[in-house]
Structures are given as C-alpha cells and as structure tokens.
C-alpha cells in the first residue's frame, strides 16, 4: 500500500539522518576535540595525573585503539545503549543520562504544548486571514506576524518578562517552581509550576505564531486562485463548504510540510528562552555545558536535539499521510 511505502521511505531517511548526526558527533567530539579527555577525567575525580593511571584509563576508554573502526563502533554502541559518560564540570561525576532524565520532561512539556498551540492558532488565523483577505483583521495580523517573525525569541521573552514580571509582578522571574522557598506538593505544586511555566510558554507560543499564520495564509491564497474553487462555486456549493472541503483541504498540505521545516528553529528558540527564564530544561543545560566546556553533556544535548527534531518531523510526515488521500494510492 502506498502509505506503507511512503512511511518506510521517511523512516529510512530518519535513520540515515541519525547516522549522519552520530558520525558528525563522533568526529567533533572524539577527533577534533581540544584537550586531553583523560586528563580532564582525572581532574574531575580529584585524582592525580600519573602516566600509569593515564595509560590504564586510556585503555579502559578504548582511546589507545584506532579511531576507525574501533573507537567509532564503540561510540555507536555506547550511544545506543545510553551510556553517555559522566559530566565533567557541571555535575561532576554524575552520569549524563541521569542528568538528562531530570531535565527532559520539563523541556518536552514546554515545547510540545506551546508548539501545538502555536500551530493550531496560527493555522486557524491564517485560514481566516486568507479567506477574508484585506479586512482589518487580516492587515493587523499581517503586521503583527511580521513583527513577531522578525523578533528573536529571547527578545520577546525579555519583553514579556519585563512587563509581566519585573513591572507588573504577575509572574515569577524564572525557574521551574518555588523550591526551596515554598515547598508545595500535589495540586499546589502543579499550580506553582504552571505559574513559572506561563511566561516561557507564552513566549514560545507567540514566537512562531506569526510564521505559521503567514504560511497558512499564503497557502490558502495560492489555492483560492485555482480553477476547482471556481468550479465548486459554479456547482452551487455554499461558501463555507467551498472553504472547508476544497480550499483548506488542499492548502493544508504544503503548510504541514513548511511547518515541519521550522522545528529546527523552534528547538533553537527553546534554548534561548530557557536561558532567559532560567527554566531548568535541556536547553539551559546545553547553555551551561557550553559555558563550562562540559563535552560529554554537550554531546548528549546535541544528540537529543537532533533526535527530537527528527521525531517531530516523522510525526509531521504521518500527519501529511493522513491528510493527503493520494498517498494511499501511490
């Protein structure tokens, strides 16, 4: 069946990309990396650097073996089994995977919910703006969308923080919850977290809303110029069904594809927004790892980011397959 072939192709592409990403990571972190990893490791342990210990460690890490294929194969095996080493600077000696577990959930909740909201609202507004082209709603939405598009996400975050936290005091200035100042539990804790998550969530939601609005609107305008729209009207179909059955169903397809392309940028936005709001997610972790040159953590965050975007793209591909009936026929 066409759908299976389509999805298989997409999964193959995903695996290829993942492979590329892993190889790239390996090259960057194990071939080009500055500094001596053994020396750093010993320093973190608080142990003295002796040639004997260094040699022993070198052997344990497999660094005395040839880069290809031994070190490469070992790297692949370690990564897939989630054995990603220990943090050297940020949380000395803590396993990278354990650091991740505590952070990933926070970031995922933030990104997925805000992105979904942004897409849904942006697309609906775009349909409306494209359908009622030229009205005051369309013109003001166009202008605000352009401005939002031109604004870096962290600038938007800082504006919201200034207004709603520093000046109005409605929201906290950052963080995840009020621990240890207030140690809430249960529902109160949830409310506390939501209170802290509000501003970064709104920031991320608004940051890409403009772009999705413009994309959907543009797609719809393209479709409205096609002859089958005129034909539908000539058949006597009511306007709202012309919009729903003929215009939107076609305009949605390229929009989905284009939205998927912005996932990479959204991930970048998450990093800077988490910095602005000191939100303890993977983004902030990447920043901290960068500052501290904590390579094992850095490596893991990069792989996580790539994997997240790839999975998001796969979901987009699934959505596309669902929306386009021609795929089943291919």
């Amino acid at each position: 069946m066409g759908t299976q072939r389509y999805l298989l192709g997409k999964v193959v592409q995903l695996v290829l990309t993942l492979f590329f990403v892993l190889t790239l990571t390996f090259f960057l972190f194990h071939v080009f990396m500055p500094g001596d990893p053994v020396r750093t490791y010993l320093k973190v342990q608080g142990a003295k650097y002796t040639p004997a210990q260094a040699a022993a460690l070198k052997h344990e890490f497999g660094l005395d073996q040839p880069v290809f294929p031994n070190q490469y194969a070992r790297f692949l095996k370690d990564t897939v089994t989630l054995n990603m080493g220990v943090s050297t600077i940020i949380y000395p000696n803590a396993s990278v995977t354990s650091i991740f577990w505590s952070r990933v959930g926070k970031s995922l909740i933030l990104i997925t919910t805000s992105t979904i909201a942004s897409i849904v609202i942006g697309v609906m507004m775009g349909i409306y703006g494209g359908w009622r082209r030229g009205g005051w709603v369309d013109n003001s939405s166009m202008t605000s969308s352009l401005i939002l598009y031109a604004m870096p996400e962290f600038v938007l975050g800082m504006i919201l923080l200034l207004i709603f936290s520093t000046w109005l005091g409605w929201f906290p200035a950052g963080g995840y919850d009020s621990w240890p100042v207030h140690q809430y539990t249960g529902l109160a804790h949830v409310a506390d977290v939501l209170n802290h998550m509000a501003l970064p969530w709104i920031t991320l939601m608004l940051a890409y809303l403009g772009e999705f609005y413009l994309l959907m609107r543009s797609s719809l305008l393209d479709v409205l110029g096609e002859e089958y729209i005129t034909l539908a009207r000539a058949k006597g179909v009511r306007e709202k069904y012309v919009l729903r059955r003929h215009a939107v169903r076609n305009a949605l397809l390229p929009t989905v594809t284009l939205i998927a392309l912005s996932f990479g940028f959204i991930l970048g936005g998450v990093i800077t927004v988490e910095i602005v709001f000191s939100y303890p997610g993977v983004g902030l972790l990447a920043y901290q790892a960068l500052e501290a040159r904590d390579y094992s953590v850095l490596q893991a965050t990069f792989l996580f980011a790539a994997l997240a975007v790839l999975i998001a793209n796969l979901i987009a591909d699934l959505t596309y397959a669902y929306l386009d009936p021609r795929i089943r026929r291919a």
Binding site: L231, K235, R326
Partner: protein
C-alpha cells in the same frame, strides 16, 4: 424558446490600476437545442461572459445589463436562489487539463457533490448516477473512485463533461474545453460533446479561440473583439464568407484540411489585441485592419445587416450607413 438571453451585458473589473471594461455591451440569445459559438483572441472578454452568466466573478466586479436564464433574471437573484440556479440552469465545462478538479477528492465524489448540493438524490443514488454519467461520457463507472491525478487530460475532460450533466442543466457553457488537449483527443471530446448535446437537446455556449472547431459544432457563431461582438450569424456563413476583416483574419489563421484556399495563402494577423483600458477610438479594430478606411478611426460601428442572416460591426457591411453621411 430561449434558454439564455443576454441583453447589453457589460462587465467591468476593478483592479489596482483602475477599471477594466472587459465586456462592453454584448447581446445574444440561445434557444433550446441550439449551439452558439463564441470566438475571439485571448482577452476579448469571452471567458468573462461565461463567468458572468453564473455570477462567478468577485464581488468587486461590476456586472450590468440583463441575463435571463430559464426565465430567471440572474443578476437579480438572491444568493440562495442563485446557488440553486447554478448547475441546474446552466453548468460550465472548464479547460479541464490542469487544476479544474480538486486534487484530493475522488472524481466520483466531486460529481456526487453537484447532485447532493441540489438535493436531487441521496448519497447512494448519487453515486449510482455518477457511475452512469461516467458511462455516458465513455469512461468505465468503476473510475468514480479515482483521483484526478490518475486520469489523462482527455479523461479529465470527460469527467468535467459528466459533471456538467449531473443536474440536467438546460444550458452548457463550454469554456475552451479542448484547448489544452492533443489534436486526436480534441476530436474525440468534440465528438462526445456534439453527440451529447444532440441526444439530450441541450443548449450550448461554446467559447474558444479556434474558429475551425466552432464551425463544426455551432449553429450560430459570434466573433468578439475588444469586449464587443463584431460579427454574428449562421456558423457556415460567418466562417466561409466573413464580412468583418477580423473574422476574415481569424478564419484564415485556422486552415481547414482539404480547403484549397488555405494551401496557397499565407495568413496571420499582425499586432496585439488592445488593452481594455486603452481601446482605440472609433472602430477598435482599425489599427490592425487590412481594409481600414478614412472613417474607421472616428465611427463606432454597430452590428449592421451584412446579408444572408449575418450582422457585422463594420463599414463594409452591406447594411452599414453610407459613408458620405458620416463625413463632417
């Protein structure tokens, strides 16, 4: 009994660059079972007329005059009644080739939509009827489950025709139905249209720039230039003995195989059709006319009698007022 009566139709588009008068006073009548061919170059306004009959233009376009379809004044209908009249009174066959069919909807569903929108049948009956319609146009009924991209150009055109018949209209407007097709396929589609029109007793308005096609299909023929009809009459007369110089040039540009005249005479018409916003004074054709006279840039011609049932908007028509009376 006239199915469609158009009286002094004027259509003006509003664009950023000002008003564009695409149709400047066109009148004609089509009776039941009759085929009227409408010919002219691109931009003369013929497709605009097609859209005007069913009021498919954007709300900013000004339509004046009178259009009577099946006894109803189209320009006066409320939106609900207009929608009811569409497709049941008159349907359109577009230039099917590119994107006249919804790419993500099965063709059967698109035909069914026409039927159910007018509540002529329920879903199941409509599907059966769609299959029957496909058979009528020479396609196997099982194709109702196909998507447009699975059909060839000619097949898509047949689907368009089947769809046009779905609500038993009195009039079919064929807007360049064969232009984008290969010659062989063109012939097939034309044959189909002719036989359907004849068997079902439909009135048809056939719009194209290809005069030779019209001569085969139409009973009467009208030639348009710069938003007005410049010659009209029985198809054979107009094509074989044209009076208006524009018709002569058009006819010469489409040779008929076997007709001796064409083999020896090179033909072609220099220049371009006029910009609707800058129509030449007097007779709009005078800058390109091979038989232009002194009065042409000053006299706006009307459809004068030109003999054997023809009317031509040209000073060379036999029924045109004498040239002397128009000299100052």
């Amino acid at each position: 009994m006239s199915v469609l009566s158009v009286d002094d139709l004027r259509v003006t588009y509003s664009t950023k660059g000002g008003d564009v008068p695409a149709v400047r006073g066109v009148s004609f009548e089509i009776d039941k079972g009759e085929v009227l061919g409408l010919a002219g170059e691109s931009g003369c306004g013929k497709s605009t007329i097609a859209g005007a009959i069913l009021r498919l233009h954007s709300p900013t376009t000004k339509i004046e005059g009178q259009i009577t379809l099946d006894g109803k004044d189209i320009l006066d209908l409320s939106p609900g009644k207009l929608r009811a009249a569409r497709w049941t009174g008159a349907s359109i066959v577009f230039q099917g080739a590119l994107h006249a069919l919804n790419p993500v909807q099965k063709i059967g569903d698109q035909i069914v939509e026409a039927i159910t929108v007018h509540r002529m049948a329920d879903e199941r009956e409509a599907h059966v009827r769609a299959g029957a319609l496909l058979e009528q146009v020479g396609l196997p009924p099982r194709r109702i489950d196909d998507y447009p991209h699975e059909l060839s150009g000619g097949q898509k055109q047949r689907v368009m025709i089947a769809m046009a018949l779905a609500c038993n209209p009195s009039l079919i407007i064929a807007d360049e139905p064969t232009t984008a097709l290969d010659v062989m396929v063109q012939a097939q589609v034309l044959k189909l249209l002719r036989s359907l029109q004849h068997d079902l007793g439909l009135a048809m308005l056939f719009i194209t720039h290809d005069l030779s096609v019209l001569v085969e299909v139409s009973d009467d023929l009208a030639v348009m230039y710069a938003g007005k009809i410049v010659e009209e009459g029985p198809a054979n007369e107009v094509f074989h003995t044209p009076v208006h110089p524009y018709t002569k040039a058009l006819a010469a540009a489409f040779p008929e195989i076997g007709d001796d005249r064409f083999r020896r005479r090179p033909s072609g018409l220099g220049g371009d059709p006029p910009d609707p916003q800058q129509i030449p004074s007097g007779c709009p054709f005078h800058p390109r006319c091979a038989e232009v006279t002194q009065v042409c840039p000053e006299l706006v011609p009307e459809l004068w009698d030109a003999g054997s049932g023809r009317f031509a908007a040209c000073v060379h028509a036999t029924g045109a007022p004498s040239l002397q009376t128009t000299n100052p």
